[in-house]
């Protein structure tokens, strides 16, 4: 059980767990960058428009 994470475990082609973790960690960084940006106003406006459209429809139904 020595330094299993530094050698290829098990079947050929597996990558060491520490490399796998590093990849995930860097992917988190990559995508959290995009996810932390402010939303474009157009998206908020779209949601508002959808909601008000529906409000009008349901008012019309009554």
């Amino acid at each position: 059980m020595t330094r299993r994470d530094q050698t290829k475990p098990g079947k050929a082609g597996d990558i060491p767990p520490n490399v796998s973790e590093q990849i995930d960690e860097n992917l988190k960084r990559l995508y959290s960058d995009a996810a932390s940006e402010d939303l474009p106003p157009s998206l908020i406006e779209l949601l508002d428009a959808l909601r008000s459209q529906e409000t009008q429809q349901s008012a019309g139904d009554q």
């Binding site: 490399v19 796998s20 860097n26 992917l27 995508y31 939303l39």
Partner: protein, 197 residues
Amino acid sequence: MTGSGKATQPPDSHEHPDPRDEIVTHLPSLRAFARGLTGDVAAADDLVQDTVVKAWTKFDQYQAGTNLRAWLFTILRNTHLSLRRKRAREVSDGEGVFAAKLASKPDHDGRLAMQELRAAMDMLPVEQREALILVGAFGFSIEEAAETCNCAPGTIKSRANRARRALAEILELDKGEHPDSTDTPIAAVMANAPGGL
């Protein structure tokens, strides 16, 4: 009626809030997922807009209490796939936009590595890429990602693993005997990476 607890509820809301109000909370990660799939900022935002409209108009198909995030991601993914089929010959040509955007961040050594990682991700088949983005970047459980991609959990697992393996190869990370190897930018950054953001 006069709640002694929450005072912020609008007068017409029921005790269960409208789940559609939660859509907005998922938009940032939907945008990031869309960028991962399209490789293009503008195309990603168009994709998110389409997703929002679809989600809103067929919200009656959403089962309250189930996983809204997975439901939204599924709509986005399916919308992307059908657009891809439509534009079968059109290869993503906007990669530079996303890369340039990353490059413009004052991210010192990290930016080159992030570009390399992004470029490497773009080399993966979309099925592997989406599996790894969901599980690796967004922390979806295997089951949640399987639900999102409409496939078996085992399929997600093997796609994500194949994706990691491919990235390790492309980025030359799989050097077991040389854990301190920093001869690629991504390896250098990873070696110095802090625990979090």
